[in-house]
Amino acid sequence: MELGTLVALILTLAIFSFLYRENPFYRFAEYLLVGISVGYYLVIICRNTLYPMVIDRIFIRGELLAIVPVILGLLMFARLSRKWAYLSRLPLALMIGFGAGISIPAMLQARIMKQMSASMLPLTSINGIIILIGVISTILYFYFSKKQEGFYGNITRLGTYFLMIFFGATFGYTVMSRVSLLIGRLEFILRDAIGIVS
């Protein structure tokens, strides 16, 4: 068995041991994951971002304009000092302004306008009718300025049934997802580590 496979097997079993009860092996594996993740992120950021976007651009290609975002990025650290903390507002304001300006129209178009037009199907098909009833009753359920009783209450209750179908489907997919992860780990143990499955 390769060293990497052996380490992965031991760590998998250490994590699985939590299912029996909390124990030092599980905690060791958990802390190891946290530590390795931080170290890995740091290396990736340095290698894949700082080197090509800062060092390569400024010092090798001589693109001096790249100093501007570097200075803005460094200003974020001004928050660590009470005296200079106000300087960090500049990059923050830029980020918030950029974020809002970019995301609001994009979200409106992709998540609302396109989705609305996709729900407006011809009522000649059963799917079109179901979608129409589902959309209206579900939206009405989230309208809280009118008491949900009588005929209106029946419509909003129908909305909750549509929501429950969605929750059920999501739960089913979640179960599928979690079982898939277990399959992946068990397949690793049985095939790659122990070798009893070809």
């Binding site: 090509p52 390569d56 599928m176 997802s177």
Partner: protein, 266 residues
Amino acid sequence: MDLTRLDKRWIYLLLLLAVGIPLLVKVKLPVRLTAETEKVFEAVETVDSTGFVMISFDIEASSLPEVRPIAEALLKHLFRRDQRVIGLALFPEGTAIGYDLISSIANEYGKKYGEDFIYLGFRPQYVSAILQMGEDIRSVYPLDYLNNDWTMTGPFSGVRNYDDIELVISVADGSLPTYWVEYAGARHGQRIATGLTAVMATSYYPYTESGQLVGLIGGLKGAAEYEQLLGYVGGGQRGMLAQSSGHILIIALVLLVNLVAVRRRR
């Protein structure tokens, strides 16, 4: 026996057996194809033979057992069709995973780095990265993952922005496909497909219905479907028996507990 007082470790053991035993049995279950997976397959099939396809590994290591079969099936399909592939990652954890996956499948098909595929690596701020690639990919990735200047020579040097890319595929375990739809799809008109974990699939069916995604491969079942379309048995199809028996156990437990609850109320 009072089921409400049952030690939950018995359930863990049952699930371990229900999933583990089928993995020892070599039985291939028939897989019913869904329209969403077929649409992804067709989208790849319709890419021009000289066209470029971008595949983004927007994943973390914890979801690898589920997304690996999806990524492998997609890459096999792309390399089988001699498509030129540009790999990248918008999550740090997906960076090395993506490189390993793309390199190993490329190696299987005798593809060469720089000629048939390149890997651009990771960039932070995925919104900015996706948006900026619509203008100029070189400004986002002046160097590739191996710190080579990919913009100077080779077939990939002509790729400037989404206009030169026929299809973007986001292999994801989170909400990254939404950002691809919003910033590459809605803004730049880029065709986008996704392969993602099952837990995320329900959130993305509306996007396939609206045409914002050309299709989606959902979880291990989706991977099994794609493998069937490609005609090979991979991690998806191998896991289907275990997946089904795990589901049957959970359905049985849910029914049993509900029956006990109804009886106790009476």
